[in-house]
Amino acid sequence: MSNPVRALVVAETSDGQPIPLVWEMLGLARRWADETGGAVHACVLGDGLDAAAVALAARGADRVHRIASPSLSPYQADAWLPDVCAVARAVGPAAVMIGHTPQGADLAPRIAFRLDAGIATACNRASWTAGRLEVTRPCYGGKAEETVSFRTATAVVTVKAKCFAPAPAQAARHGDVVAVPTVLDAASVRTRVRGSRRDASAGANLESANIVVAGGGGMKGPDGFGMLERLAVALGGAVGASRVACDLGWCPPGRQVGLSGKTVAPELYLAVGISGAGQHMAGCVNSKTIVAINTDAAAPIFRYARYGVVADCHALVPALIEVLESKAR
Protein backbone atom coordinates (compact mmCIF):
# COMPACT_ATOMS: atom_id res chain seq x y z
CA MET A 1 0.00 0.00 0.00
CA SER A 2 1.65 3.21 -1.07
CA ASN A 3 -0.57 5.78 -2.74
CA PRO A 4 -2.91 7.66 -0.42
CA VAL A 5 -6.24 5.84 -0.50
CA ARG A 6 -9.32 7.97 -0.89
CA ALA A 7 -12.59 6.17 -0.22
CA LEU A 8 -16.20 7.30 -0.49
CA VAL A 9 -18.69 5.62 1.84
CA VAL A 10 -22.31 5.89 0.74
CA ALA A 11 -24.30 5.95 3.98
CA GLU A 12 -27.65 4.19 4.17
CA THR A 13 -29.81 5.48 6.98
CA SER A 14 -32.73 4.14 8.94
CA ASP A 15 -34.85 6.44 11.11
CA GLY A 16 -32.44 9.31 10.54
CA GLN A 17 -29.25 7.48 11.56
CA PRO A 18 -26.68 5.52 9.54
CA ILE A 19 -27.18 1.76 9.81
CA PRO A 20 -24.48 -0.18 11.76
CA LEU A 21 -22.91 -1.49 8.53
CA VAL A 22 -21.91 2.10 7.71
CA TRP A 23 -19.68 2.13 10.83
CA GLU A 24 -18.03 -1.07 9.61
CA MET A 25 -17.29 0.51 6.22
CA LEU A 26 -15.99 3.66 7.92
CA GLY A 27 -13.75 1.50 10.10
CA LEU A 28 -12.21 -0.09 7.02
CA ALA A 29 -11.93 3.17 5.06
CA ARG A 30 -10.40 4.94 8.09
CA ARG A 31 -7.76 2.23 8.42
CA TRP A 32 -6.80 2.58 4.74
CA ALA A 33 -6.67 6.36 5.00
CA ASP A 34 -4.55 6.28 8.17
CA GLU A 35 -2.10 3.76 6.74
CA THR A 36 -1.60 5.70 3.51
CA GLY A 37 -2.26 9.31 4.39
CA GLY A 38 -5.47 9.17 2.40
CA ALA A 39 -8.93 10.46 3.19
CA VAL A 40 -12.38 9.19 4.02
CA HIS A 41 -15.36 10.79 2.34
CA ALA A 42 -18.94 9.92 3.16
CA CYS A 43 -22.17 10.95 1.54
CA VAL A 44 -25.61 10.88 3.03
CA LEU A 45 -28.77 11.54 1.05
CA GLY A 46 -32.32 12.17 2.16
CA ASP A 47 -34.49 14.65 3.91
CA GLY A 48 -32.73 16.52 6.75
CA LEU A 49 -30.14 14.12 8.16
CA ASP A 50 -28.05 16.72 10.06
CA ALA A 51 -27.58 14.30 12.95
CA ALA A 52 -26.53 11.51 10.59
CA ALA A 53 -23.92 13.76 8.98
CA VAL A 54 -22.45 14.72 12.35
CA ALA A 55 -22.38 11.07 13.38
CA LEU A 56 -20.50 10.13 10.19
CA ALA A 57 -17.84 12.72 11.00
CA ALA A 58 -17.60 11.49 14.60
CA ARG A 59 -16.99 7.96 13.29
CA GLY A 60 -14.12 8.85 11.04
CA ALA A 61 -15.27 10.63 7.89
CA ASP A 62 -12.96 13.53 7.01
CA ARG A 63 -15.59 15.05 4.80
CA VAL A 64 -19.31 14.39 4.78
CA HIS A 65 -21.27 15.36 1.69
CA ARG A 66 -24.80 15.93 2.92
CA ILE A 67 -27.34 16.10 0.12
CA ALA A 68 -30.69 17.05 1.57
CA SER A 69 -33.85 17.13 -0.48
CA PRO A 70 -37.34 15.71 0.03
CA SER A 71 -37.05 14.11 -3.43
CA LEU A 72 -34.24 11.87 -2.10
CA SER A 73 -36.49 10.27 0.49
CA PRO A 74 -37.58 7.51 0.50
CA TYR A 75 -34.63 5.92 -1.31
CA GLN A 76 -35.08 5.17 -4.99
CA ALA A 77 -32.16 4.25 -7.24
CA ASP A 78 -33.31 6.67 -9.94
CA ALA A 79 -33.40 9.54 -7.46
CA TRP A 80 -30.06 8.81 -5.78
CA LEU A 81 -27.99 7.97 -8.84
CA PRO A 82 -27.25 11.50 -10.15
CA ASP A 83 -26.12 12.79 -6.75
CA VAL A 84 -24.03 9.79 -5.74
CA CYS A 85 -22.35 9.81 -9.16
CA ALA A 86 -21.74 13.56 -8.94
CA VAL A 87 -20.06 13.22 -5.53
CA ALA A 88 -18.04 10.23 -6.74
CA ARG A 89 -16.86 12.17 -9.79
CA ALA A 90 -15.88 15.14 -7.64
CA VAL A 91 -14.04 13.02 -5.04
CA GLY A 92 -12.44 10.56 -7.47
CA PRO A 93 -12.17 7.77 -4.89
CA ALA A 94 -10.27 4.51 -5.32
CA ALA A 95 -13.29 2.79 -3.80
CA VAL A 96 -16.96 3.69 -3.59
CA MET A 97 -18.17 1.63 -0.63
CA ILE A 98 -21.82 0.69 -0.32
CA GLY A 99 -23.42 -1.62 2.24
CA HIS A 100 -24.56 -4.98 0.88
CA THR A 101 -28.20 -4.57 1.89
CA PRO A 102 -31.34 -4.70 -0.25
CA GLN A 103 -30.84 -0.96 -0.83
CA GLY A 104 -27.12 -1.10 -1.50
CA ALA A 105 -27.39 -4.12 -3.79
CA ASP A 106 -30.02 -2.19 -5.76
CA LEU A 107 -27.91 0.95 -6.05
CA ALA A 108 -24.32 -0.24 -6.50
CA PRO A 109 -24.41 -1.89 -9.95
CA ARG A 110 -26.02 1.18 -11.48
CA ILE A 111 -23.37 3.47 -9.93
CA ALA A 112 -20.68 1.21 -11.38
CA PHE A 113 -22.15 1.31 -14.88
CA ARG A 114 -22.66 5.10 -14.78
CA LEU A 115 -19.06 5.60 -13.62
CA ASP A 116 -17.80 2.85 -15.94
CA ALA A 117 -16.13 1.35 -12.87
CA GLY A 118 -15.37 -2.24 -11.96
CA ILE A 119 -17.62 -3.67 -9.28
CA ALA A 120 -17.63 -6.50 -6.75
CA THR A 121 -20.55 -7.22 -4.45
CA ALA A 122 -20.90 -8.75 -0.97
CA CYS A 123 -17.20 -8.43 -0.16
CA ASN A 124 -16.06 -9.87 3.16
CA ARG A 125 -12.32 -9.11 3.02
CA ALA A 126 -10.30 -6.39 1.37
CA SER A 127 -6.63 -5.52 1.12
CA TRP A 128 -4.21 -3.44 -0.88
CA THR A 129 -1.54 -5.41 -2.69
CA ALA A 130 1.15 -3.43 -4.47
CA GLY A 131 -1.10 -0.40 -4.55
CA ARG A 132 -4.04 -2.38 -5.93
CA LEU A 133 -7.30 -3.08 -4.18
CA GLU A 134 -8.15 -6.76 -3.88
CA VAL A 135 -11.48 -7.85 -2.46
CA THR A 136 -12.63 -11.32 -1.52
CA ARG A 137 -16.24 -12.42 -1.74
CA PRO A 138 -18.15 -15.66 -1.37
CA CYS A 139 -19.51 -17.28 -4.52
CA TYR A 140 -20.97 -20.64 -5.58
CA GLY A 141 -23.43 -20.38 -2.72
CA GLY A 142 -20.65 -19.91 -0.18
CA LYS A 143 -18.86 -23.07 -1.32
CA ALA A 144 -16.05 -20.98 -2.82
CA GLU A 145 -14.60 -17.54 -2.48
CA GLU A 146 -13.03 -15.40 -5.14
CA THR A 147 -10.52 -12.58 -4.92
CA VAL A 148 -10.76 -9.92 -7.59
CA SER A 149 -8.88 -6.77 -8.51
CA PHE A 150 -10.06 -3.93 -10.70
CA ARG A 151 -8.87 -2.43 -13.96
CA THR A 152 -10.50 0.92 -13.38
CA ALA A 153 -9.20 3.79 -11.22
CA THR A 154 -12.41 3.69 -9.20
CA ALA A 155 -13.97 0.44 -7.98
CA VAL A 156 -17.47 0.07 -6.59
CA VAL A 157 -17.68 -2.47 -3.77
CA THR A 158 -20.61 -3.56 -1.69
CA VAL A 159 -19.55 -4.69 1.75
CA LYS A 160 -21.15 -7.56 3.63
CA ALA A 161 -22.32 -6.87 7.18
CA LYS A 162 -20.37 -8.08 10.23
CA CYS A 163 -17.09 -8.66 8.41
CA PHE A 164 -15.14 -5.56 9.47
CA ALA A 165 -14.61 -3.89 12.84
CA PRO A 166 -16.85 -0.83 13.21
CA ALA A 167 -15.24 2.59 13.62
CA PRO A 168 -15.70 3.80 17.19
CA ALA A 169 -17.64 6.98 17.86
CA GLN A 170 -15.37 9.84 18.95
CA ALA A 171 -17.66 12.61 20.13
CA ALA A 172 -14.79 15.12 19.95
CA ARG A 173 -14.04 14.28 16.33
CA HIS A 174 -15.36 16.78 13.84
CA GLY A 175 -15.06 16.29 10.11
CA ASP A 176 -16.11 18.76 7.49
CA VAL A 177 -19.81 18.54 6.86
CA VAL A 178 -20.65 20.17 3.56
CA ALA A 179 -24.17 20.73 2.32
CA VAL A 180 -24.16 19.78 -1.33
CA PRO A 181 -27.13 20.91 -3.41
CA THR A 182 -28.86 18.09 -5.22
CA VAL A 183 -28.25 17.80 -8.95
CA LEU A 184 -31.39 15.71 -9.36
CA ASP A 185 -33.75 16.61 -12.16
CA ALA A 186 -37.06 15.22 -10.91
CA ALA A 187 -38.00 14.29 -14.48
CA SER A 188 -35.21 11.69 -14.54
CA VAL A 189 -36.94 9.64 -11.82
CA ARG A 190 -38.83 7.06 -13.82
CA THR A 191 -40.04 4.89 -10.97
CA ARG A 192 -42.62 5.75 -8.33
CA VAL A 193 -43.05 4.11 -4.93
CA ARG A 194 -46.77 3.53 -4.45
CA GLY A 195 -46.47 2.27 -0.92
CA SER A 196 -44.51 0.07 1.40
CA ARG A 197 -45.13 -2.41 4.15
CA ARG A 198 -42.80 -2.93 7.04
CA ASP A 199 -43.12 -6.32 8.57
CA ALA A 200 -42.63 -5.34 12.22
CA SER A 201 -42.66 -8.88 13.57
CA ALA A 202 -40.30 -10.08 10.86
CA GLY A 203 -37.10 -10.04 12.80
CA ALA A 204 -35.94 -6.45 13.07
CA ASN A 205 -33.89 -7.50 16.11
CA LEU A 206 -32.30 -10.45 14.31
CA GLU A 207 -29.20 -8.66 13.06
CA SER A 208 -28.38 -7.05 16.40
CA ALA A 209 -29.16 -10.02 18.68
CA ASN A 210 -26.37 -11.61 20.72
CA ILE A 211 -28.03 -14.98 20.49
CA VAL A 212 -29.86 -16.32 17.45
CA VAL A 213 -31.91 -19.49 17.55
CA ALA A 214 -32.51 -20.53 13.94
CA GLY A 215 -34.82 -23.23 12.67
CA GLY A 216 -34.96 -25.08 9.36
CA GLY A 217 -36.70 -27.91 7.61
CA GLY A 218 -36.35 -30.06 10.74
CA MET A 219 -38.88 -27.85 12.56
CA LYS A 220 -41.58 -29.61 10.49
CA GLY A 221 -44.06 -26.71 10.65
CA PRO A 222 -45.12 -23.44 12.28
CA ASP A 223 -45.57 -25.20 15.64
CA GLY A 224 -41.88 -26.00 15.63
CA PHE A 225 -41.21 -22.28 15.34
CA GLY A 226 -43.53 -21.63 18.27
CA MET A 227 -41.26 -23.91 20.28
CA LEU A 228 -38.14 -22.07 19.01
CA GLU A 229 -39.73 -18.76 19.98
CA ARG A 230 -39.99 -20.02 23.57
CA LEU A 231 -36.37 -21.17 23.51
CA ALA A 232 -35.31 -17.77 22.17
CA VAL A 233 -37.16 -16.05 25.01
CA ALA A 234 -35.50 -18.33 27.57
CA LEU A 235 -32.08 -17.52 26.08
CA GLY A 236 -32.79 -13.82 25.52
CA GLY A 237 -32.22 -14.19 21.79
CA ALA A 238 -33.95 -13.74 18.44
CA VAL A 239 -35.38 -16.32 16.04
CA GLY A 240 -33.89 -16.84 12.58
CA ALA A 241 -34.67 -19.38 9.89
CA SER A 242 -33.45 -21.13 6.79
CA ARG A 243 -34.98 -20.36 3.43
CA VAL A 244 -36.82 -23.67 3.38
CA ALA A 245 -38.71 -22.68 6.54
CA CYS A 246 -39.52 -19.20 5.17
CA ASP A 247 -40.55 -20.48 1.74
CA LEU A 248 -42.95 -22.92 3.40
CA GLY A 249 -44.50 -20.03 5.35
CA TRP A 250 -43.52 -21.39 8.76
CA CYS A 251 -42.11 -18.01 9.70
CA PRO A 252 -41.92 -14.52 8.11
CA PRO A 253 -39.39 -13.98 5.28
CA GLY A 254 -37.68 -11.27 7.33
CA ARG A 255 -36.24 -14.02 9.51
CA GLN A 256 -34.34 -15.68 6.68
CA VAL A 257 -30.61 -15.96 7.26
CA GLY A 258 -28.28 -16.51 4.33
CA LEU A 259 -27.17 -15.50 0.89
CA SER A 260 -30.58 -14.18 -0.10
CA GLY A 261 -31.57 -13.23 3.45
CA LYS A 262 -29.93 -11.53 6.40
CA THR A 263 -26.36 -11.69 7.65
CA VAL A 264 -25.92 -12.27 11.36
CA ALA A 265 -22.86 -12.75 13.53
CA PRO A 266 -24.09 -13.28 17.10
CA GLU A 267 -22.09 -14.66 20.03
CA LEU A 268 -24.16 -17.83 19.76
CA TYR A 269 -25.92 -19.21 16.68
CA LEU A 270 -28.03 -22.23 17.56
CA ALA A 271 -28.97 -24.03 14.34
CA VAL A 272 -31.91 -26.34 14.91
CA GLY A 273 -32.94 -28.76 12.16
CA ILE A 274 -30.82 -26.88 9.61
CA SER A 275 -28.70 -28.89 7.19
CA GLY A 276 -25.97 -26.27 6.77
CA ALA A 277 -26.12 -25.54 3.03
CA GLY A 278 -23.50 -23.04 1.84
CA GLN A 279 -26.22 -20.53 0.97
CA HIS A 280 -27.46 -20.60 4.55
CA MET A 281 -24.00 -20.51 6.12
CA ALA A 282 -23.16 -17.43 4.00
CA GLY A 283 -25.41 -15.53 6.41
CA CYS A 284 -24.04 -16.87 9.69
CA VAL A 285 -20.46 -18.22 9.33
CA ASN A 286 -19.08 -15.20 11.16
CA SER A 287 -21.00 -16.13 14.31
CA LYS A 288 -18.69 -16.52 17.31
CA THR A 289 -19.96 -19.96 18.28
CA ILE A 290 -22.25 -22.19 16.25
CA VAL A 291 -24.14 -25.00 17.95
CA ALA A 292 -26.05 -27.50 15.83
CA ILE A 293 -28.92 -29.79 16.70
CA ASN A 294 -29.68 -32.28 13.96
CA THR A 295 -30.85 -35.89 13.68
CA ASP A 296 -28.30 -36.55 10.92
CA ALA A 297 -24.75 -36.85 12.28
CA ALA A 298 -23.45 -36.41 8.72
CA ALA A 299 -25.25 -33.07 8.15
CA PRO A 300 -22.83 -30.41 6.82
CA ILE A 301 -23.83 -28.03 9.64
CA PHE A 302 -21.58 -30.01 12.00
CA ARG A 303 -18.57 -28.90 9.95
CA TYR A 304 -19.21 -25.36 11.13
CA ALA A 305 -20.40 -26.13 14.66
CA ARG A 306 -18.28 -25.92 17.82
CA TYR A 307 -20.77 -28.12 19.68
CA GLY A 308 -23.06 -30.67 18.07
CA VAL A 309 -26.02 -32.58 19.39
CA VAL A 310 -27.34 -35.46 17.31
CA ALA A 311 -30.93 -35.54 18.46
CA ASP A 312 -34.52 -34.94 17.48
CA CYS A 313 -35.13 -31.26 18.10
CA HIS A 314 -38.74 -31.90 19.01
CA ALA A 315 -37.52 -33.68 22.12
CA LEU A 316 -34.35 -31.65 22.74
CA VAL A 317 -35.71 -28.11 22.45
CA PRO A 318 -38.42 -28.63 25.12
CA ALA A 319 -35.72 -30.15 27.35
CA LEU A 320 -33.50 -27.09 26.78
CA ILE A 321 -36.37 -24.77 27.63
CA GLU A 322 -36.98 -26.78 30.81
CA VAL A 323 -33.31 -26.58 31.89
CA LEU A 324 -33.16 -22.82 31.24
CA GLU A 325 -36.46 -22.08 32.92
CA SER A 326 -35.59 -24.15 35.99
CA LYS A 327 -32.25 -22.34 36.23
CA ALA A 328 -34.07 -19.03 36.13
CA ARG A 329 -36.50 -20.08 38.88
Binding site: F113, C139, A144, S149, R197, R198, S260, T289, R303, V310
Partner: protein, 267 residues
Protein backbone atom coordinates in the same frame (compact mmCIF):
# COMPACT_ATOMS: atom_id res chain seq x y z
CA UNK B 1 -46.13 -7.27 -24.99
CA UNK B 2 -42.65 -8.46 -25.86
CA UNK B 3 -40.65 -9.99 -23.02
CA UNK B 4 -37.03 -11.10 -22.97
CA UNK B 5 -35.83 -13.37 -20.17
CA UNK B 6 -32.07 -13.67 -19.62
CA UNK B 7 -31.04 -17.13 -18.49
CA UNK B 8 -27.66 -18.45 -17.33
CA UNK B 9 -26.35 -21.99 -17.25
CA UNK B 10 -24.56 -22.73 -13.98
CA UNK B 11 -23.21 -25.71 -12.03
CA UNK B 12 -25.97 -27.10 -9.80
CA UNK B 13 -26.02 -24.79 -6.74
CA UNK B 14 -27.33 -27.65 -4.61
CA UNK B 15 -24.21 -29.78 -5.05
CA UNK B 16 -22.94 -30.91 -1.64
CA UNK B 17 -19.97 -28.96 -0.30
CA UNK B 18 -18.20 -32.26 0.34
CA UNK B 19 -18.15 -32.97 -3.42
CA UNK B 20 -17.59 -29.45 -4.72
CA UNK B 21 -14.01 -28.67 -5.82
CA UNK B 22 -12.16 -25.82 -7.44
CA UNK B 23 -9.00 -25.92 -9.50
CA UNK B 24 -7.05 -23.08 -7.94
CA UNK B 25 -4.51 -22.90 -10.76
CA UNK B 26 -7.21 -22.69 -13.43
CA UNK B 27 -9.39 -20.50 -11.18
CA UNK B 28 -12.37 -22.64 -12.13
CA UNK B 29 -14.85 -25.10 -10.69
CA UNK B 30 -13.87 -28.73 -11.30
CA UNK B 31 -16.56 -30.57 -13.27
CA UNK B 32 -16.61 -33.49 -10.84
CA UNK B 33 -18.73 -36.50 -11.84
CA UNK B 34 -22.35 -35.92 -10.97
CA UNK B 35 -22.12 -32.13 -11.11
CA UNK B 36 -25.07 -31.20 -13.33
CA UNK B 37 -25.52 -28.01 -15.29
CA UNK B 38 -28.77 -26.27 -14.55
CA UNK B 39 -30.47 -22.96 -15.22
CA UNK B 40 -29.86 -20.54 -12.37
CA UNK B 41 -32.97 -20.96 -10.15
CA UNK B 42 -33.78 -17.23 -10.06
CA UNK B 43 -33.73 -17.24 -13.88
CA UNK B 44 -36.23 -20.10 -13.94
CA UNK B 45 -38.39 -17.98 -11.70
CA UNK B 46 -37.95 -15.10 -14.15
CA UNK B 47 -39.34 -17.36 -16.88
CA UNK B 48 -42.23 -18.18 -14.55
CA UNK B 49 -42.92 -14.45 -14.09
CA UNK B 50 -43.01 -14.02 -17.89
CA UNK B 51 -45.49 -16.89 -18.18
CA UNK B 52 -47.68 -15.43 -15.43
CA UNK B 53 -47.69 -12.08 -17.24
CA UNK B 54 -48.76 -13.85 -20.41
CA UNK B 55 -51.55 -15.54 -18.46
CA UNK B 56 -52.59 -12.17 -17.06
CA UNK B 57 -52.47 -10.28 -20.36
CA UNK B 58 -53.84 -13.03 -22.59
CA UNK B 59 -50.85 -12.82 -24.90
CA UNK B 60 -47.15 -12.01 -24.78
CA UNK B 61 -44.14 -12.96 -26.89
CA UNK B 62 -41.45 -14.47 -24.70
CA UNK B 63 -37.85 -14.77 -25.89
CA UNK B 64 -34.98 -16.32 -23.98
CA UNK B 65 -31.43 -15.04 -24.27
CA UNK B 66 -28.40 -16.76 -22.85
CA UNK B 67 -24.70 -16.09 -23.09
CA UNK B 68 -22.66 -19.20 -22.56
CA UNK B 69 -21.38 -22.40 -24.07
CA UNK B 70 -23.07 -24.70 -26.58
CA UNK B 71 -24.13 -26.78 -23.57
CA UNK B 72 -26.49 -23.97 -22.53
CA UNK B 73 -28.79 -25.26 -25.29
CA UNK B 74 -30.30 -27.75 -22.86
CA UNK B 75 -31.27 -25.01 -20.42
CA UNK B 76 -32.79 -22.94 -23.18
CA UNK B 77 -34.74 -25.93 -24.55
CA UNK B 78 -36.19 -26.41 -21.11
CA UNK B 79 -37.31 -22.78 -21.12
CA UNK B 80 -38.95 -23.32 -24.50
CA UNK B 81 -40.70 -26.38 -23.10
CA UNK B 82 -42.11 -24.17 -20.37
CA UNK B 83 -43.71 -21.99 -23.01
CA UNK B 84 -41.20 -19.44 -24.27
CA UNK B 85 -41.59 -18.66 -27.99
CA UNK B 86 -38.00 -18.49 -29.16
CA UNK B 87 -34.46 -18.43 -27.90
CA UNK B 88 -31.13 -16.80 -28.65
CA UNK B 89 -27.85 -18.38 -27.70
CA UNK B 90 -24.79 -16.11 -27.65
CA UNK B 91 -21.68 -18.24 -28.07
CA UNK B 92 -18.30 -16.90 -29.07
CA UNK B 93 -14.73 -17.38 -27.91
CA UNK B 94 -14.58 -13.60 -27.88
CA UNK B 95 -16.80 -13.69 -24.78
CA UNK B 96 -14.27 -15.76 -22.81
CA UNK B 97 -12.73 -14.15 -19.76
CA UNK B 98 -15.46 -11.56 -19.48
CA UNK B 99 -17.09 -10.23 -16.34
CA UNK B 100 -20.48 -8.82 -15.36
CA UNK B 101 -19.79 -5.66 -17.37
CA UNK B 102 -19.10 -7.48 -20.63
CA UNK B 103 -21.99 -9.90 -20.06
CA UNK B 104 -24.39 -6.99 -19.59
CA UNK B 105 -23.03 -5.39 -22.78
CA UNK B 106 -23.58 -8.53 -24.85
CA UNK B 107 -27.06 -9.18 -23.46
CA UNK B 108 -28.08 -5.53 -23.92
CA UNK B 109 -26.85 -5.66 -27.52
CA UNK B 110 -28.89 -8.81 -28.14
CA UNK B 111 -32.00 -7.22 -26.64
CA UNK B 112 -31.51 -4.17 -28.87
CA UNK B 113 -31.11 -6.44 -31.86
CA UNK B 114 -34.31 -8.34 -31.03
CA UNK B 115 -35.97 -4.91 -30.97
CA UNK B 116 -39.27 -3.63 -29.61
CA UNK B 117 -38.78 -5.30 -26.24
CA UNK B 118 -41.13 -4.01 -23.54
CA UNK B 119 -39.83 -5.92 -20.56
CA UNK B 120 -36.53 -7.59 -19.72
CA UNK B 121 -36.50 -10.09 -16.86
CA UNK B 122 -33.40 -11.49 -15.14
CA UNK B 123 -32.81 -13.33 -11.90
CA UNK B 124 -31.81 -11.17 -8.90
CA UNK B 125 -28.37 -12.75 -9.18
CA UNK B 126 -26.88 -15.83 -10.82
CA UNK B 127 -26.53 -18.63 -8.30
CA UNK B 128 -22.87 -19.29 -9.25
CA UNK B 129 -21.29 -15.81 -9.05
CA UNK B 130 -23.93 -14.64 -6.55
CA UNK B 131 -23.15 -11.11 -7.69
CA UNK B 132 -26.36 -9.45 -8.92
CA UNK B 133 -24.75 -6.96 -11.31
CA UNK B 134 -25.83 -7.91 -14.82
CA UNK B 135 -29.55 -7.08 -14.53
CA UNK B 136 -29.13 -3.45 -13.51
CA UNK B 137 -26.20 -3.20 -15.92
CA UNK B 138 -28.40 -4.13 -18.87
CA UNK B 139 -30.95 -1.51 -17.77
CA UNK B 140 -28.27 1.17 -17.54
CA UNK B 141 -26.92 0.33 -20.99
CA UNK B 142 -30.41 0.30 -22.52
CA UNK B 143 -31.38 3.44 -20.61
CA UNK B 144 -34.51 1.89 -19.10
CA UNK B 145 -35.65 1.85 -15.46
CA UNK B 146 -34.85 -1.23 -13.40
CA UNK B 147 -36.76 -2.63 -10.46
CA UNK B 148 -34.90 -5.24 -8.42
CA UNK B 149 -35.86 -8.14 -6.12
CA UNK B 150 -39.36 -8.61 -7.50
CA UNK B 151 -41.72 -10.91 -5.64
CA UNK B 152 -44.71 -10.09 -7.84
CA UNK B 153 -44.96 -8.40 -11.24
CA UNK B 154 -48.12 -7.12 -12.91
CA UNK B 155 -49.03 -4.78 -15.74
CA UNK B 156 -51.62 -2.16 -14.94
CA UNK B 157 -52.77 0.19 -17.71
CA UNK B 158 -49.52 0.03 -19.63
CA UNK B 159 -47.33 0.54 -16.55
CA UNK B 160 -45.42 -2.06 -14.64
CA UNK B 161 -46.36 -2.63 -11.00
CA UNK B 162 -43.77 -4.53 -9.03
CA UNK B 163 -43.89 -5.73 -5.46
CA UNK B 164 -40.26 -5.76 -4.34
CA UNK B 165 -38.75 -7.48 -1.36
CA UNK B 166 -36.93 -5.27 1.16
CA UNK B 167 -35.88 -7.87 3.69
CA UNK B 168 -38.07 -6.50 6.49
CA UNK B 169 -41.07 -5.94 4.28
CA UNK B 170 -41.82 -4.91 0.75
CA UNK B 171 -42.71 -1.94 -1.41
CA UNK B 172 -44.86 -1.45 -4.48
CA UNK B 173 -43.06 0.33 -7.29
CA UNK B 174 -44.53 1.58 -10.53
CA UNK B 175 -42.41 1.99 -13.66
CA UNK B 176 -43.17 2.86 -17.27
CA UNK B 177 -42.36 0.34 -20.00
CA UNK B 178 -39.89 -0.52 -21.39
CA UNK B 179 -38.25 -1.61 -18.15
CA UNK B 180 -36.11 -4.31 -16.58
CA UNK B 181 -37.05 -6.36 -13.53
CA UNK B 182 -34.83 -8.69 -11.50
CA UNK B 183 -36.74 -11.57 -9.96
CA UNK B 184 -36.33 -12.86 -6.40
CA UNK B 185 -37.17 -16.28 -4.96
CA UNK B 186 -40.33 -14.97 -3.26
CA UNK B 187 -42.21 -15.32 -6.58
CA UNK B 188 -42.46 -18.96 -5.57
CA UNK B 189 -42.87 -22.20 -7.45
CA UNK B 190 -42.26 -22.55 -11.15
CA UNK B 191 -44.61 -24.63 -13.28
CA UNK B 192 -43.44 -27.95 -14.71
CA UNK B 193 -42.96 -28.38 -18.46
CA UNK B 194 -45.57 -30.49 -20.23
CA UNK B 195 -44.45 -33.51 -22.22
CA UNK B 196 -46.05 -32.15 -25.38
CA UNK B 197 -44.21 -28.83 -25.08
CA UNK B 198 -40.96 -30.63 -24.32
CA UNK B 199 -41.27 -32.64 -27.54
CA UNK B 200 -42.07 -29.51 -29.49
CA UNK B 201 -39.18 -27.58 -27.91
CA UNK B 202 -36.72 -30.30 -28.87
CA UNK B 203 -37.44 -29.60 -32.54
CA UNK B 204 -37.51 -25.82 -32.25
CA UNK B 205 -34.46 -24.11 -33.76
CA UNK B 206 -32.39 -21.69 -31.70
CA UNK B 207 -30.85 -18.52 -33.06
CA UNK B 208 -27.14 -18.57 -32.39
CA UNK B 209 -25.30 -15.24 -32.29
CA UNK B 210 -21.68 -14.11 -32.01
CA UNK B 211 -20.09 -10.87 -30.87
CA UNK B 212 -19.86 -9.78 -34.50
CA UNK B 213 -23.57 -10.45 -35.06
CA UNK B 214 -24.22 -8.06 -32.20
CA UNK B 215 -21.84 -5.50 -33.69
CA UNK B 216 -19.66 -5.70 -30.61
CA UNK B 217 -15.93 -5.22 -31.06
CA UNK B 218 -13.23 -7.29 -29.42
CA UNK B 219 -12.59 -4.52 -26.89
CA UNK B 220 -16.22 -4.55 -25.71
CA UNK B 221 -16.44 -8.15 -24.62
CA UNK B 222 -14.42 -10.96 -23.05
CA UNK B 223 -11.19 -10.42 -21.18
CA UNK B 224 -10.39 -7.27 -23.17
CA UNK B 225 -13.57 -5.52 -22.10
CA UNK B 226 -13.64 -6.72 -18.51
CA UNK B 227 -13.44 -4.23 -15.68
CA UNK B 228 -12.08 -6.70 -13.12
CA UNK B 229 -9.58 -9.51 -12.88
CA UNK B 230 -10.17 -12.79 -11.11
CA UNK B 231 -7.02 -13.18 -8.99
CA UNK B 232 -7.92 -16.29 -7.01
CA UNK B 233 -10.68 -18.85 -6.55
CA UNK B 234 -10.57 -21.11 -3.52
CA UNK B 235 -12.65 -23.20 -1.17
CA UNK B 236 -12.81 -21.32 2.14
CA UNK B 237 -10.91 -22.95 4.97
CA UNK B 238 -12.90 -24.12 7.89
CA UNK B 239 -10.99 -25.07 11.01
CA UNK B 240 -13.86 -25.56 13.42
CA UNK B 241 -13.77 -28.94 15.15
CA UNK B 242 -17.12 -30.09 16.39
CA UNK B 243 -17.44 -31.61 19.83
CA UNK B 244 -20.40 -33.97 19.76
CA UNK B 245 -22.15 -34.04 23.11
CA UNK B 246 -23.16 -37.40 24.58
CA UNK B 247 -26.18 -38.16 26.71
CA UNK B 248 -28.70 -40.91 27.31
CA UNK B 249 -31.82 -38.77 27.09
CA UNK B 250 -32.89 -35.41 25.68
CA UNK B 251 -32.88 -34.09 29.25
CA UNK B 252 -29.29 -35.21 29.82
CA UNK B 253 -28.19 -33.77 26.47
CA UNK B 254 -29.94 -30.48 27.20
CA UNK B 255 -28.28 -30.22 30.61
CA UNK B 256 -24.85 -31.00 29.12
CA UNK B 257 -25.25 -28.43 26.36
CA UNK B 258 -26.28 -25.64 28.74
CA UNK B 259 -23.41 -26.61 31.07
CA UNK B 260 -20.88 -26.46 28.20
CA UNK B 261 -22.13 -23.11 26.99
CA UNK B 262 -22.05 -21.70 30.51
CA UNK B 263 -18.53 -23.04 31.14
CA UNK B 264 -17.35 -21.45 27.88
CA UNK B 265 -19.00 -18.19 29.07
CA UNK B 266 -21.23 -18.16 26.02
CA UNK B 267 -24.31 -18.14 28.23
Amino acid sequence: MKIVVCVKEIPDPDIAASVFQVDEAARAVVPVPGLRSVASPFDEQAIEVALRLRDQLGSAAISLVTLGDETAKAIVKNGLALGADDAYLLVDEAFDGGDATTTARALAAAIRKIGGVDLVLTGRQAADDDAGIVGCGIAEILGVPAVTFAMDVAVDGGALVVERSLGDGSETVEAPLPALVTVSHEVGKVRPASLRETMKAARQPLTVGTAADLELTAGDVGAAGARRTLERLAVPKNDVRCEFLAGESPEALAATLIERLSAARIL
